[in-house]
């Protein structure tokens, strides 16, 4: 083989293995970091393991907010047909309010409790239902 041909072969080998590595990297990373979104009703039927990270969304039920010690907070998220209790430790965002929309990401703990590690209140810059966007900003 002459040097030019040799170089070509090497180039093809390197390029294809590099793209293979990148593809694998992307697939692997995507598989571990996709957070599906559920409403409380969908949670009733969905089959979700307790280790899987998901997002849930709905309204914070009025009068359901309870504070425990050390910033532990528990409240109920409802879509007006089903409910789920959500537990969170930390400081709630500015626009978290009973009766308002909320999106929480975290993991299920059994069927009835959701342990959130992040809370995004709707009306928040983070998550606004489209219809108020037009005048919210």
């Amino acid at each position: 083989m002459n040097t030019l041909r040799k170089r070509r072969v090497w180039l093809v080998v390197i390029l294809s293995s590099a793209s293979l590595i990148v593809t694998l990297l992307v697939i692997q990373a995507l598989r571990h970091n996709l957070n599906l979104y559920y409403t409380p009703t969908e949670l009733q039927t969905a089959d979700i393991s307790n280790t899987q990270k998901i997002r849930i969304g709905g309204l914070v039920e009025k009068g359901s907010l309870q504070r425990g010690s050390d910033l532990i907070i528990q409240f109920v998220v409802t879509d007006l047909t089903h409910q789920i209790s959500v537990q969170y430790t930390g400081i709630l965002p500015d626009l978290f309010k009973e009766g308002q929309g909320v999106v929480a990401s975290g993991r299920l703990n059994g069927k009835a409790l959701f342990v959130a590690d992040e809370i995004l209140a709707k009306h928040d810059e983070n998550y606004q239902p489209p219809r108020i966007l037009d005048h919210g900003s």
Binding site: L59, K62, G99, H123, P130, R131, I132, D134, H135, G136
Partner: protein, 174 residues
């Protein structure tokens, strides 16, 4: 061929974006019209101990009128309400927007009160849910608590005669 690749990828991307737009379209088109009135729990201008919710819209056709004592065009509109509400079989509910109970109460006393009740929305949160952009605004809500029509700006005789009253009549028949 490899020079065509960017174009092909871009075309595929545009296809997805196009589909994606129609997805958002669905949720965006659902503005307030045809939807249930947003939920709330507020007390009234007249009585700080009386708490009302969106249930007050059920059973009767309601005009929800957003007003404030600091709003000058609301005064003009107010004269219209004083004359047209009683003869028509409707409930006129006020949404007192960014105002205080004292100011609003005084205003109603000096100008007269055509409202069945006035929801006190001091911080404007309910107004925000309704997407109110300014005062006055008026929403027509049917017997099932579904928003049917939104009028931005003051209602004068003409708007009443040509738009709101016919709409209310039609809703009453259905």
């Amino acid at each position: 061929m490899r020079f065509l690749l960017p174009l092909v990828i871009f075309a595929a991307l545009c296809g997805f974006l196009w589909k994606g737009l129609s997805l958002t379209d669905k949720t965006l088109a659902s503005t307030l019209i045809g939807q249930s009135a947003p939920a709330f729990q507020l007390n009234t201008v007249e009585d700080p101990n009386r708490w009302v919710s969106e249930d007050i819209f059920r059973g009767k056709i309601t005009l929800l009128n957003v007003w404030a004592s600091w709003c000058h065009s609301c005064q003009k509109e107010h004269e219209v309400w004083m004359t047209v509400v009683k003869p028509a079989d409707i409930a006129l509910v006020g949404l007192n927007y960014h105002d205080t109970r004292e100011e609003a109460g005084r205003w109603l006393q000096s100008h007269g009160n055509p409202y069945r009740l006035n929801i006190l929305d001091e911080r404007g949160r309910l107004g925000m849910d309704y997407g109110v952009t300014g005062t006055p605004e008026t929403f027509v809500i049917d017997k099932n608590g579904v928003i049917r029509y939104r009028h931005v700006g003051p209602v004068d005789r003409e708007v009443w005669d040509k738009k709101l009253f016919p709409l209310v009549e039609a809703l009453q028949k259905s």
